[in-house]
């Protein structure tokens, strides 16, 4: 079966040939199938965030191939890369990265602004997702007035608004307490059950020891050390 | 999600107001050209006027077209400009004028 995401000897070097050159990722080869839940596990500086961002079409590798849903993204022009990123991926960032002083609804609708759908349809979609995540009543509240758990759900709602196939989460439990972490993992599990592929970068054992994780990719010093099924 | 409608509507109103003002200008100008300007020209013609009656503080500010280069310095050659109107009247045309010679406009 063709993998949904395939990386072949992917290397990423930041600031090449400069004094502050950083080899963040070295010859990473990885396949991720549709519907899988994969964790990129490793300490800070292991290259997991870099690999995650490359898989998510947030940047291009210095060398190697990345194939997402049959397309080699390394060669695509920026506009197409953005299109794939918008349609295929939903991102949950470590610090949520919500726009402060903006309402919940406006934050979650951000990915839909550059898309050709009407204001009315946009709003309907947003309200539905907020309803599903139980924060519809906070729709018009500015995000900086929300609790940590509510912000987390807004971040998830924003990641889901475009109906992506793949959810990318970078250290999603880094700033959460145990209860909120449990809630988050339950939501991700529900998303996986509904057919979404989930890729998480983390060094939190609460995440990678969770039963719904199917595969763990061990990383250290920019290299994949081990890939094992749970 | 109404802000764009408000902005576009407001901008449209501003443009409409400006267009109205400009159209008003055009119609006022043509009315004045028809009514007032010929009457003012009549005055200029019969009274042989050469200047507008704007700044009456000095001879060269009242009749700048008739003033020679020396008039602003009439008190003394190094006399500085002391009438505010003198700073509105640029010296260009007077200073740049050379003696009239035959054939030169």
């Amino acid at each position: 079966m063709d993998s949904l995401i395939r990386t072949e000897n992917v290397t990423k070097i930041y600031n090449p040939r400069k004094p502050d050159e950083v080899r963040a990722l070295e010859s990473a080869t990885l396949n991720i199938d549709k519907g899988e839940v994969v964790v990129l596990k490793g300490p800070s500086g292991s290259g997991k965030t870099t690999l995650l961002s490359l898989i998510g079409c947030m940047g291009r590798p210095t060398s190697g191939r990345i194939v997402v849903d049959g397309r080699d993204i390394a060669k695509l022009p920026e506009r197409f890369l953005t299109l794939i990123r918008r349609r295929t991926f939903g991102f949950i960032f470590q610090q949520f990265n919500l726009i402060r002083n903006v309402s919940v609804l406006e934050n979650i609708l951000l990915p839909l602004y550059p898309v050709d759908i009407s204001f009315a349809d946009m709003r309907l979609r947003g309200e539905k997702i907020l309803e599903d995540l139980n924060i519809r009543d906070r729709m018009n509240t500015k995000v900086n007035k929300l609790s940590g758990g509510e912000q987390q759900r807004v971040a998830i709602a924003r990641a889901l608004i475009n109906g992506p196939e793949i959810i990318i989460a970078d250290e999603p439990t880094a700033h959460l307490d145990r209860k909120l972490s449990t809630d988050l993992l339950r939501i991700l599990q529900d998303l996986n059950v509904s057919g979404k592929t989930v890729v998480i970068a983390t060094h939190d054992p609460f995440v990678y020891d969770h039963p719904f994780i199917k595969r763990i990719v061990e990383m250290r010093d920019g290299r994949i050390q081990d890939i094992r099924l749970t | 999600m109404r802000k764009h409608k408000f902005f576009l509507g407001f901008t449209f109103l501003e443009l409409l107001l400006l267009s109205t003002l400009f159209l008003y200008s055009r119609s006022t100008v043509s009315v004045l050209n028809r009514d007032e300007v010929p009457a003012k020209r009549e005055l200029v013609r019969y009274l042989k006027l050469t200047d507008l009656s704007l700044w009456t503080e000095a001879r060269y500010t009242r009749h700048p077209s008739q003033a020679d280069i020396f008039t602003p310095f009439q008190d003394f050659p190094s006399s500085l400009e002391h009438f505010p109107a003198g700073s509105i009247i640029g010296p260009e045309s007077i200073v740049l004028q050379t003696a009239i010679t035959p054939g030169r406009p």
Binding site: Y113 | V29, Q66
Partner: protein
């Protein structure tokens, strides 16, 4: 639809810093209002002058003595009349009168012969000795009108009483505000001008193309004369109301410098918060073109709104409020500055140039600092 939505987001973004942006629009609009007011005022006055002074005499011949304007001998009238191409040469009698009562200067003009009823005159022209017609400014200074008397002190320090037979209508103030018109004989007597001398000579010429030639001939015939052509008179007013000179230039450039400081402040970089926001937008699916369009809208909303508001304010200020704010600048020390309504002449070309000079740099200074961030890969957001 996409463009409207990005505009919607741009407006939300601007409203997040509501007070700052409203202040920015206010200052920007004020700057444009000042610039536009100067342009409207000077253009209006310039065109007014060019339209009404078109009937000024073809040539005015002055006599100079030691570089100063002196009275001209009547013999010159005959010599000038005999030059081929000259239609007529008529002496002009006029002078200045300082009124110590009102501390204002009047211009006295002497006329000869019959002048038909002028449409801008209420009453009639003087037809008998010691009669005069006055401008509205003189009337309001001395609180007199048609039918009243006007007492002036002549060169022998004697009071002379004139009977006012007419007053120029206020719509002609721009020409007649400080005028007192009397017969030439009365004026010569009043100023005690020497016999056989006039103030200058007004010359009409059959063929306008020959003005310069005839002016040259006059100078050749009388080397102490200074002929002033009609085109020179009109050019004077082009220069007078030119915004590129004098105090108008000072006002104009002060406003322009204020605007440049505003634009420079914007252009010197975007804040960390703005950079972060652009990074987030890129990460969630906005591409470079979308970000730049967002910045374009932000720039246009501020600059276009300010430009239009400034222009409307300038128009109302100049053409409905008679340039009240600028008028102390243009009035100078004139006690007798005419109260006139400016004709709303508009130069569309100037408006477009003003729009280009004010809107374009502001939009550019909004887009350009964001450019570098907009083209950066969003993975930096993941790394922040």
């Amino acid at each position: 639809m996409r463009h409207l939505k990005i505009l919607e987001y741009a407006l939300s973004s601007l409203l997040r810093r509501k007070y700052r942006n409203i202040s920015l629009i206010a200052v920007y609009a004020l700057t444009i209002a000042i610039l536009a007011s100067v342009l409207f005022l000077t253009y209006s006055l310039k065109l007014e002058a060019s339209h009404i002074l078109i009937d000024t005499p073809d040539l005015i011949v002055q006599r100079l003595s030691a570089g100063r304007h002196d009275l001209i001998p009547m013999e010159y009238v005959k010599t000038i009349s005999e030059i081929p191409g000259v239609g007529s040469a008529v002496p002009r009698y006029w002078g200045y009168y300082y009124d110590s009562l009102s501390h204002s200067n009047y211009t006295l003009i002497g006329i000869d012969g019959d002048i038909p009823g002028l449409s801008l005159l209420e009453g009639r022209m003087p037809s008998a000795p010691r009669e005069c017609v006055i401008g509205a400014g003189v009337g309001s200074m001395r609180i007199v009108g048609t039918g009243d008397t006007l007492a002036l002190i002549n060169s022998m320090n004697t009071g002379v009483v004139f009977h006012i037979t007419g007053t120029f209508r206020s719509v002609s103030n721009i020409l007649t505000n400080d005028l007192i018109v009397m017969s030439s004989k009365d004026l010569v007597q009043f100023f005690d001008l020497p016999a056989g001398r006039a103030t200058d000579i007004a010359v009409t010429i059959h063929n306008p193309n020959e003005v310069a030639t005839i002016a040259g001939k006059i100078r050749t015939a009388h080397s102490d004369t200074r002929p002033i052509t009609k085109s020179e008179i009109l050019r004077t007013y082009d220069a007078v109301f030119n915004w590129r000179s004098g105090i108008m230039l000072t006002i104009f450039s002060s406003a322009l410098i204020a605007f440049c400081i505003l634009a420079w402040d914007k252009a010197t970089g975007i804040s960390a918060e703005e950079k972060h926001e652009i990074g987030i937008l890129k990460a969630i699916g906005w591409d470079t073109a979308d970000i730049l369009e967002l910045k374009f809208w932000e720039g246009i909303v501020i600059s276009l709104t300010s430009f239009l508001l400034g222009l409307i304010a300038a128009y109302i200020h100049v053409f409905f409020l008679n340039a009240t704010i600028l008028s102390p600048v243009i009035k100078g020390w004139s006690v007798l500055f005419p109260a006139f309504r400016l004709t709303p002449y508009i130069d569309i070309y100037q408006i477009f140039v003003l729009a280009f000079l004010t809107v374009t740099p502001y939009v550019a200074s909004t887009i350009i600092p964001s450019w570098k961030t907009a083209i950066t890969d969003p993975e930096n957001v993941m790394r922040s």
